[in-house]
Structures are given as structure tokens and as C-alpha cells.
């Protein structure tokens, strides 16, 4: 299939710059997810690739050919909309046949293709229905079917499962992954849901305010966030971020009596005041005092079944830790917390990662 490349793409809506100098290469057969909050420019970027938005400067290459001045209908890129955008006056069959009819595909071939794709998506029984008579999951399958029938150069998906309920979303996520593995089409997928992004992506592109923050595999993004935005956007519950005072072999949260023990080799590289980022699962809560553990007061306990999320007050800071279910009985308890130094992140004042790790 196709490689998609963006070179220094800029886009303004009036005075507002929604895409800021974005450069990116999506490899052939790759599944790339644009992740970011609403209004970060991810959908606009996707629409620009499809040809539904113009760009003010920069180049968009599909299969090595610049397409920024090519009309949407000539780009041969399929698009799955968040609202599905199935034509309400046409049946499922007609909806799926619609893109094939555009290029004058013979009737027999249309029929064979539509039925084959419907089979793959398990919607063969729905072909005569109107979209209004379908459930959310089926609508989504039809929308994907319409995108798949003509074997496009690339598939673009704009939050395609965003409007489904949680359980169905999980099912469809698996199905999308399976489809991508089977079809192997170059896919760009837009979402604000970091779990979806982690589950689906070969590579994640984190966007914020029209700027690419970080591009990398889900593991890279999770374990080595380049700045505070990425660090806090990816991961649930959110990474703890606290201002700390760095001592010799110790990192103290503002207002706390004691600090987390950290290797000297690490603390020597740090300035006196930095921002510590540490994920809840990198904090270990114990009930008895032990070496390297500092005292904390339990503020809140969220029981999630498989594990608990415990809010702890250490000095002036509130941090969240992940514990096994039932470990901490309730608020007000005095507990002790250890930090895993190998999973601690340090950021400068501007929120950029210092890149200093154990």
C-alpha cells in the first residue's frame, strides 16, 4: 500500500494556527494513532490528509506524490467519520456500493466486493436495512465496510468508536486491530482516548495545540515521555507530578519532612529544584515503616476491583499510588511509601524531560 508523509504542514483558521509546522512519516502498512485533547488539531490534520481541508503551507505526500493540491475525490483515501456519515436514504448495501459506483465499477463486481467485505465484517444479514435501523456497532461496521470496499491507498479514521458505549468500544477495538492485521492498510487513527491509542497503535503521535509533542511506540511514549504534557496525557491514573527539592541521595516533596531515597548517581546530575514525575504504579505503599519508605496519610481510596488507587498526602503534595485491592482500609490511615527510582522522571521548569534516568 502506501506511505504518507507530512512536510512542514501549517494550517490557520482565521488568526488561529491549528497545525503548527507538522512533519511526520507514516510508513506503509503502519497503524499510527494521533492522540490529543479535543481542539489539538488532530482531526484537522487528518482531514487535510484526506483533502477535506486545505493546508496553508507545507506538503502532503501520499505514496511519494504531493497531493496537497489534489481534490479529495482524486486522492483515493478512505475516511471513517466519528458520526459514521452513512447516507440515511440508502440501504447498507447501497452505502457500501457507493464508492465503487463513483469509479464506474461493473455491477457484478460491485456485488461480489460488497458481499465479500460484508462477510469479513459480519454484516451480511444487514445489507437490505437502512442505517436508521442499525445499532451503533453495526453502523460502525458499515462505515468501515464502506471505507474498505474499494481498497484505498490509506484508511483514515476519526474517532470511529468514540460514540459507542464502553463495552462495545472494547469489542470494536479488538476488531479494528484484527482488520488491520488482515488487510494491512496504512491507517491513521484519531482519538482522545489514550487506552485506545495504546491498544491499537504501532506508533502514537501525541499532539497538543497543533504541535507534535512526541512520536513513538506506545511503550516509548509511556516509559519515556518527552515532556509533562505527554507524561500526564498518557497513562491512567495520571502520572503524579510534584515540585521537589533534590538533596544528596534524596528527593523531597515540597513541605514534606522526609524524602524518597534515590541513587546518588541520579541526584548528582539534578539541579536543586526540579519537577518529579512518577506513575502511581511506581509508588509502593506499605503499612509498616521500612527502609527508604516515607510516611504519608491516606486521603482517599478508590476500589477498582483488580486494584485500588490510593490518594496520599505527603507534605503539601497529594500523590496517587496503585496498590493491591484491599491493602489500605480507608482514609486517615498512616502508611509508608517507597518510590521506584528507575521509574522516576525529572522535568525542567518548562516541562521538558531532563532525560535523566537511573
Amino acid at each position: 500500500m502506501t506511505q504518507i508523509e507530512l512536510r512542514n504542514v501549517n494550517k490557520f483558521f482565521g488568526a488561529v494556527q491549528v497545525i503548527k509546522d507538522v512533519s511526520l512519516t507514516v510508513n506503509d502498512r503502519e497503524f499510527v494513532v494521533f492522540l490529543g485533547q479535543s481542539g489539538c488539531g488532530k482531526t484537522t490534520t487528518l482531514r487535510a490528509i484526506a483533502g477535506l481541508e486545505t493546508v496553508d503551507s507545507g506538503e502532503i505526500l501520499v505514496g511519494g506524490v504531493p497531493v496537497q493540491d489534489t481534490r479529495a475525490e482524486d486522492r483515493d483515501i478512505a475516511f471513517v467519520f466519528q458520526s459514521f456519515a452513512l447516507y440515511p436514504h440508502l440501504t447498507v448495501y447501497e452505502n457500501m456500493a457507493f464508492p465503487l459506483r463513483a469509479v464506474g465499477t461493473p455491477k457484478a463486481e460491485v456485488d461480489v466486493t460488497v458481499r465479500r467485505v460484508a462477510g469479513v465484517l459480519q454484516i451480511s444479514g444487514l445489507l437490505k436495512r437502512r442505517p436508521s435501523a442499525l445499532s451503533g456497532g453495526d453502523l460502525q461496521r458499515v462505515a468501515i465496510g464502506r471505507a474498505l470496499v474499494r481498497n484505498p491507498k490509506a484508511m483514515l479514521m476519526d474517532e470511529p468508536i468514540g460514540s459507542l458505549d464502553a463495552k462495545l468500544r472494547e469489542e470494536m477495538r479488538v476488531e479494528l486491530k484484527r482488520l488491520h492485521v488482515e488487510q494491512g492498510s496504512t491507517t491513521i487513527y484519531v482519538t482522545h482516548d489514550q487506552i485506545e491509542a495504546m491498544a491499537l497503535a504501532d506508533r502514537i503521535v501525541v499532539m497538543h495545540a497543533g504541535v507534535l509533542q512526541q512520536v513513538g511506540t506506545p511503550e516509548e511514549i509511556y516509559t519515556n515521555p518527552v515532556n509533562l504534557f505527554v507524561a500526564q496525557f498518557v497513562g491512567s491514573p495520571v502520572m503524579n507530578v510534584c515540585d521537589v527539592v533534590v538533596g544528596d541521595g534524596v528527593v523531597t516533596l515540597a513541605g514534606a519532612a522526609e524524602g524518597f531515597a534515590m541513587p546518588q548517581a541520579l541526584t548528582q546530575q539534578l539541579q536543586a529544584k526540579v519537577t518529579l514525575g512518577i506513575r502511581p504504579e511506581a509508588l509502593e505503599v506499605v503499612l509498616e515503616p521500612s527502609a527508604g519508605a516515607i510516611g504519608a496519610e491516606v486521603h482517599l481510596v478508590e476500589s477498582l476491583g483488580s486494584h485500588d488507587i490510593v490518594d496520599l498526602r505527603i507534605g503539601q503534595a497529594l500523590v496517587r499510588a496503585r496498590t493491591r485491592a484491599g491493602l489500605v482500609s480507608g482514609p486517615g490511615l498512616r502508611v509508608y511509601v517507597k518510590a521506584d527510582a528507575s521509574r522516576a522522571h525529572f522535568f525542567d521548569e518548562a516541562g521538558q524531560s531532563l532525560g535523566i534516568r537511573v
Binding site: S83, A85, R150
Partner: protein
């Protein structure tokens, strides 16, 4: 689904149904009156109190369609029996149908006026709705410089009462030779309805999600194809509603028709009252003309009723 109602609500519900029936009766009474009069013998048309039960007859319609003259003496039995049934009803009323030297029945002015009304109303409706839909699509989907001003300007053409512009229009039409022509009235009604059509259709097209067209574009269709294959079918409801309104306006229009036409392109509205004429008016004939004039609008509205009902409530609910 019927929701649970309290006694007070039940009472209010009944009261509202009763008041609806009263309003309905009030609105239907003139239509009943005209319809009844159209089937009455002439001598029962103006009785006091009104005659409610009578033997319906078709003579008013025959008289409406034909030229007639007063009978000086009753026709002979031979002539009477030789005449077709519809001509006999005219004899019964004390009149006779005028025939040419070859014995052909002479038509009155009504059939041609009625045909003119149909031609002019249908053509101007098609034009107004067609142009209005395309214009509305442009305003709805593209950034038009000064969009609000343009839309206001379009609407402002509707703000002057027809009577105010009728005289200057008449003078202009006379200069360019459009007075008393079908084309003249078609242009006039199209222009008159266009503003209405643009505004109404813009509302309907605004309601159609842009994403349908985006989807059609990425599916490989041009914008024009997307318009015809996606937007038009989706806008069918709005088009039907707009067409009904435009048709009724053009069909009922009286002032321009009266001033701009006198014979060739005259429509039914100025013609029917002209039959009141001098002397004793025959109200049954006028009622028959009015009744026939009601029929096309009723049929048109009836055919589009489903679209119309959806059209009226369209946009009231956000999806």
C-alpha cells in the same frame, strides 16, 4: 407512548380537543359553504335561511365552462330531448348554451384561465425551488463574503407589498412587451417566491450534516455529484415543503395577475370575481369556479402531506 395523566390534565386534554374542533369547524365552514353552493340550483343559492338539504346538480360547473344566454322561451321537447344531459341542466335553469354555426359548444373564459394558472404556478414553482435550492446550498456550505447582507437583501425583496411595486412593474413590463404573457407572470412569481425559497431551503440544508458530503467526496464523487446524489435526496422533505408554499403563493396571487394580465395570460383569481358582472350575479357559477380552484392545491398538498408534516417540524429537534 401514553404518559400517565392526572385528572386536571385529562380535563385540559379534552378541552383542547374541543377547542380544536371548534377552530376546525370555523375554518372549514367557508369551504363547506362554497362547495355546497357550487352544487346548488341557482334559486337555492341565496335563500334565507340557507338551504342545507338539496338535490345536488352539476349545472353550475357546466355554466362555468360554457358561454350561455337567457332563454326567451322554453325549448321544444324535441330540442330538449336531443340535448346531452349537461345541456339539459342548463335548460332547466332557464338558460341555453351558446353554440357556433356548426353546432360546437362555445367555451367560457374559465378553462383557459384555469390552464394559465396551472402553467404559471407550476413553472414558477419549479424555477423558484430549483434556483432557491442551489442558492441556499451555496450560502449554507461556502463562505460567501457578506453572507448576512446578501441574505437580508434577498429577503428584503419580499418586504414591499405587491401593490406598491405593481404600477412600476406594469410600466416596465409594457415597455419590454411582457404584460399579459405567461413568461411575464412566471418571471414575476419566480422572483417573488425566490427569496422565500432561498431562506426556507437554507434552513433545511443547514440541517443536513456536512459530513455526508465529506463522505461522498472521499468516496470519489465530485461536489456536484455529491449535491445531486446526497444533498438533494436528503433535502427532499424541505423541497416538498418549499414547493407547496411557493405553489400556493403563485396559485393564489391576485394583485399582479389583475394588473399585468387581461386575457391571454390571465389566471383564475382575477377571472372568477369578474364573473360577478352586472345585473343578477349567478353565485353558483362563482362557487363552482372557486371550488375547482381549490382542488389543485388540495391535491398537491395531499400528495406531499408526509413530507410536509416532517418539513414543518424539521429542525425543531436537534439530532
Amino acid at each position: 407512548m401514553a404518559a400517565v395523566r392526572t385528572k386536571g390534565e385529562m380535563l385540559r386534554h379534552r378541552l383542547s380537543i374541543i377547542s380544536l374542533l371548534v377552530i376546525l369547524a370555523l375554518f372549514l365552514a367557508p369551504i363547506f359553504w362554497i362547495t355546497a353552493t357550487a352544487f346548488k340550483p341557482r334559486n337555492l343559492a341565496t335563500t334565507v335561511p340557507p338551504t342545507v338539504f338539496f338535490q345536488p346538480e352539476f349545472s353550475p360547473f357546466v355554466k362555468l365552462m360554457t358561454k350561455r344566454s337567457q332563454l326567451r322561451s322554453a325549448p321544444t321537447a324535441e330540442v330538449y330531448n336531443a340535448a346531452p344531459w349537461w345541456e339539459q341542466t342548463v335548460f332547466d335553469g332557464g338558460e341555453k348554451v351558446v353554440r357556433s354555426g356548426k353546432g360546437e359548444v362555445q367555451l367560457s373564459g374559465f378553462p383557459s384561465r384555469f390552464l394559465n394558472s396551472l402553467i404559471i404556478a407550476i413553472t414558477s414553482t419549479v424555477l423558484a425551488v430549483g434556483m432557491g435550492t442551489i442558492t441556499a446550498y451555496g450560502f449554507s456550505r461556502f463562505k460567501v463574503a457578506g453572507e448576512d447582507d446578501w441574505l437580508f437583501f434577498i429577503l428584503s425583496t419580499r418586504m414591499l407589498p405587491p401593490v406598491v411595486v405593481a404600477i412600476p412593474m406594469f410600466l416596465m413590463y409594457r415597455v419590454v412587451g411582457l404584460n399579459d404573457t405567461h413568461l411575464g407572470l412566471i418571471i414575476l412569481y419566480t422572483a417573488f417566491n425566490l427569496s422565500f425559497s432561498v431562506w426556507l431551503m437554507k434552513g433545511f440544508i443547514d440541517e443536513i450534516p456536512k459530513e455526508y458530503e465529506d463522505a461522498a467526496l472521499v468516496d470519489g464523487y465530485t461536489r456536484m455529484q455529491a449535491f445531486f446524489r446526497i444533498v438533494l435526496p436528503e433535502a427532499a422533505t424541505g423541497i416538498a415543503a418549499t414547493a407547496v408554499f411557493c405553489f400556493i403563493t403563485a396559485w393564489n396571487e391576485y394583485a399582479f395577475a389583475l394588473i399585468m394580465t387581461n386575457k391571454r395570460a390571465q389566471t383564475a383569481p382575477p377571472f372568477i370575481p369578474s364573473q360577478v358582472g352586472s345585473g343578477l350575479p349567478d353565485w353558483t357559477v362563482i362557487a363552482a369556479g372557486t371550488f375547482l380552484f381549490l382542488v389543485p392545491v388540495a391535491i398537491f398538498t395531499f400528495l406531499l402531506r408526509n413530507h410536509l408534516l416532517r418539513g414543518m417540524s424539521f429542525g425543531a429537534i436537534r439530532k
